[in-house]
Assembly symmetry: C2
Homo-oligomer: 344 residues x 2
């Protein structure tokens, strides 16, 4: 099933999507290209749950809970700024759905320690964050908590980058094991929905733009700061004089043009010209700045359009809807596990 | 602080006790000696929460949830049979308090994987149950779940055997780390309350009587079966003729007499006589049978005194009270973690 087929399918079957972000910093163009853009496209045809994963963020930010809290409404503002419509999406605050914690606990019995330790995504993150010697059980278990998020809302599509595909596999393993052990089909398997451009490189040429590494352009970047960032971008260190032939691959300016400049024919001409030599970085950076400023200016305006109270209200409304769905799922799970339900 | 001081203290300060059992089989005399007896004594002076740990039982019995469910009311019947008074104790069904699951998830961020793997109690159980190759994360985390149970009810005393002391240490580590990290004192440290006779050997001479190993005398054992079990007890394999000198240490009959025969002077005389030779096993076994039958007969009657509906009602009432306490604790924890509280 390719992405176009999914878009068509959405309209027919109402696919259910679970997506979201950890509230650990401002969203940037990398998030837009990697996920926000496709959320905007899918919101019209799918039932889309957008989860603010504050509980997951705490697994490796437990020593700064205020920081996490302060980022929640920032994230909501960012969602509004790229026109994720509150009437078309269900915004969910993870920590306000205690059913997700209980689901996680139930699933933990179905996952072996070795399986978590072998998870490539977790392994990579442990290395990246130097967590080897301070690995908390909470962090190690976050793929199980993700499985709880996905299954609670019966999502069948989960937009992820290629590096996150093992998370989907982990979820489906839990789903199959649970359904088999307890003779039920209450849990649904899900599929990864891979976005077309899954990654945007950092402005310093790093493999990935990251909120924490200060090499990204934020959605609400000021015009002045945007110009500084674009003009500080890494291009090709061998392209010293304008007449030198330049390299397009790994060139940050071209990577951003690829993602945001819509005149593809012109872009291809520029690439040819650059490779031959005779096209200067300054020309390209001006073009990129104009392109990005065109994109960001309206986003920046919409960023401050809602008050904190309004943002909180949108989040509360979505979370209330989502909690009902999660409660239903948990009730099926508890029935399968023969757990007693007292009414109080 | 010795046990007598605790009993006195209880009357002054209202110590809060958390104790309980996994619903994985019928209770036996080993449970009586190791814990039920002291619960009966403490119920008059302390606030005692008695937890039926069905969630914990599922961590290594997840493939048989019906079995766990069926043992819950068995456990309640056993509690009633030894005169744990429903008006003096708070009986709690673990799975009916979802706040315990959420607390567990919060605490998981504060515990390193290595710390859990080094826990001596867990290590021993993993070996005993041959879980090395199938160790679920749920089972590995049960000390964290126990910390949630203890702290949720603000228990300051936890009756345990010597082998369970590391569990108390794990709980107090979490308490200290949480209070320190979040500048709070909402969590309370607890102390182990070691019972005087912490273990009763199995009737086959095994180190510990166990529900699963069929070497125990159950609280509702029939008179006929009790006699069979007593007369099959392991004594001293070198004590062949009555005139042979016999060994008292490791002799199951003496171990049970030590625990249940109240005439200590007479028991000491019997031990001397047995060591010298001239005292037969049959005489001792008759004495033990009479002693145990005296103890068990009224227990057996009371075992069937309550209907299932009545037992469930007692459990529901206690769980409702306990849930309010757990909710309060969780609300303090969530405040410390800066979590948003939506009202719905």
């Amino acid at each position: 099933m390719n992405n176009d087929m999914i878009k068509t399918n959405c309209m027919i079957n109402q696919n259910i999507i679970l997506t979201g972000d950890r509230p650990t910093g401002s969203l940037h163009l990398g998030h837009y290209v990697g996920s926000l853009k496709s959320r905007v496209a899918l919101q019209h045809s799918c039932k889309q749950f957008i989860l603010i994963a504050d509980m997951q963020a705490l697994t490796d930010n437990f020593e700064r809970p205020k920081f996490i809290k302060n980022n929640i409404l920032q994230l909501m503002a960012a969602y509004m700024s790229v026109e994720l419509n509150p009437d078309k999406n269900i915004f969910v605050l993870q920590s306000a759905i205690p059913e997700l914690a209980e689901l996680t606990i139930h699933y933990m019995n179905l996952v072996h320690l070795g399986r978590l330790q072998r998870n490539p995504t977790v392994k990579h993150e442990i290395e990246q964050k130097s967590l080897e010697n301070s690995l908390s059980i909470g962090f190690l278990c976050y793929p199980i908590s993700q499985a709880a998020d996905i299954t609670a809302f019966k999502a069948n599509l989960v937009p992820v980058g290629q590096d996150q595909v093992p998370m989907i596999e982990q979820t489906n393993e839990i789903v199959r094991k649970f359904n088999r052990l307890y003779y039920t089909n209450c849990l649904k398997e899900c599929k990864p929905y891979l976005s077309d451009v899954s990654r945007l490189m950092g402005i310093n040429g790093a493999e990935k733009a990251g909120k924490s590494t200060n090499n990204a352009i934020f959605l609400n970047e000021s015009s002045k700061s945007l110009k500084e960032k674009v003009f500080s971008m890494y291009t090709d260190s061998n392209h010293i004089k304008i007449s030198d032939p330049g390299q397009v691959e790994g060139n940050v300016v071209f990577a951003y043009l690829d993602a945001f400049y819509n005149n593809i024919e012109h872009l291809n001409e520029l690439k040819q010209h650059y490779k031959k030599g005779g096209l200067g970085d300054v020309y390209l950076k001006k073009l990129l700045f104009d392109t990005l400023e065109n994109f960001i200016a309206p986003v920046r305006d919409k960023y401050n359009q809602y008050s904190n109270d309004e943002l909180l209200d949108i989040l509360r409304t979505g979370t209330e809807i989502a909690r009902k769905v999660a409660k239903n799922t948990l009730s099926e799970i508890r029935q399968a596990l023969c757990l007693t339900n007292f009414k109080f």
